[in-house]
């Protein structure tokens, strides 16, 4: 089973994302900021990270750069999922190594579509 780490400081968003991802066949773990996410990834590297941008402790962009620079950090597909919706922000996230970008608010169809494009769901 493919694994996904949902990183978001909102418990509600984590819950909604978890439900959508579990329906798509993922085993889901949660982290509430970049520091927690980093700790999780150094223990077990997931196949997919769904990543918020603005978070306390360590934000999404900083986490992404650390992840991509570390051992095994190329493996997970990283999909940003943020309220940031300026083209420049999206470009910055992609340039830092994100595979895809979702602007909040999202729904199950948008997540399934993006993951389909990345080849993670059939």
């Amino acid at each position: 089973m493919q694994t996904c780490l949902v990183v978001d400081d909102s418990r509600v968003i984590r819950k909604v994302s978890r439900r959508i991802l579990e329906d798509l066949g993922f085993e889901v773990a949660e982290a509430s900021d970049g520091v927690e996410a980093m700790a999780w990834c150094s223990a077990v590297m997931p196949d997919l990270v769904l990543l918020d941008w603005r978070m306390p402790a360590m934000d999404g962009l900083e986490f992404l750069k650390k992840l991509r620079g570390g051992p095994g950090g190329d493996h997970p597909k990283v999909v940003f999922c943020s309220v940031e919706n300026e083209i420049e922000s999206i470009r910055e996230a992609l340039d830092a190594g994100a595979d895809e970008y979702i602007m909040k608010p999202f729904d199950g169809g948008i997540i399934a579509g993006k993951l389909g494009y990345l080849g993670l769901v059939g």
Binding site: E86, I87, L94, A98, E100, Y101, I110, Y117
Partner: protein
């Protein structure tokens, strides 16, 4: 709820005007598509709107009602592998066969433009492919206006459009995302009712007509395939949706997509 006889009247109108197969039993579906239009046109209810249609409303309103019942293509890169094959294999092969003449591509029911723009974005990034002319048509003026504007909501640009394509080809304007003029200018638009006589529409090397046949009554679908056969240039291809049936006049030519060629190729007519 719209009464059964009104739903049947609307269904017969759609069939007569556009060959559309509307199931009069589907009361909820009909109401959900008609109600926004009735409101926009300042009728007190869908029933009042249909009543006006019955009693000689002008043609613009009749068409607006028919168009509201047609379900347009609404996703970028729908079946995304199809678009890679078109841009990387099918269009270059057509370009070689045309030997320097432009390759003419027609999206026959373009809705708000997502299908033809998906192809246009890929071709804009493939400069070696040769001269390409993109045409798009739809029954609905409203859809065509939106398509030409290239302006989409945040929700719409997240339907099928990869983020890299978004940052490459779109600018943000207020809450909307607007496609670059460079890609928009690649496409020419025209209102076409596919049930009209299409004998003067011209010849195309590739016709995209996905997920349209399923919305048409059987006789209307047969008429459309017949007309498409006449509009297909010798050696040209017809792309249908996965679940569309092409009938006997076409043979499938690709294993992994619903691409068809004329079963009995006509000779290339003298220019």
């Amino acid at each position: 709820m719209i009464p059964a006889q009104d739903r049947e009247f609307l269904a017969s109108l759609c069939l007569a005007r556009a060959g559309l197969r509307v199931d009069a039993e589907k009361a909820y579906l009909i109401e959900s598509r008609l109600a926004p239009l009735a409101r926009r046109e300042c009728f007190s209810s869908s029933e009042a709107f249909i009543d006006a249609l019955r009693h000689g409303a002008d043609d613009r309103l009749v068409w607006a009602a028919v168009e509201a019942m047609a379900l347009p293509e609404s996703e970028f890169f729908r079946d995304h592998h199809v678009f890679s094959i078109l841009a990387e294999e099918v269009v270059p092969a057509l370009a070689r066969a045309r030997g320097g003449e432009p390759v003419r591509i027609w999206s026959a029911a373009c809705g708000a433009g997502q299908e033809i723009y998906s192809l246009a974005m890929l071709l804009a990034d493939a400069p070696g492919v040769g001269r390409i002319e993109l045409f798009a048509s739809d029954l609905s003026e409203r859809s065509l206006e939106k398509a030409q504007s290239g302006r989409y909501s945040q929700f719409e640009v997240q339907r099928g459009l990869p983020a890299r394509m978004l940052v490459r080809h779109f600018e943000k304007d207020g809450e909307s995302f607007v496609l670059s003029p460079r890609v928009r200018q690649m496409v020419r638009w025209r209102r076409v009712n596919l049930m009209d006589d299409l004998s003067r529409i011209g010849q195309f090397d590739l016709i995209l007509c996905r997920n349209v046949l399923g919305q048409l009554a059987p006789e209307a679908g047969a008429r459309l395939l017949d007309q498409i056969g006449s509009a297909l240039a010798p050696g040209g291809g017809l792309l249908l949706g996965h679940n569309d049936s092409a009938g006997k006049a076409f043979v499938r030519v690709a294993p992994d997509m619903a691409l068809y060629a004329a079963a009995e190729p006509r000779a290339r007519s003298a220019a």
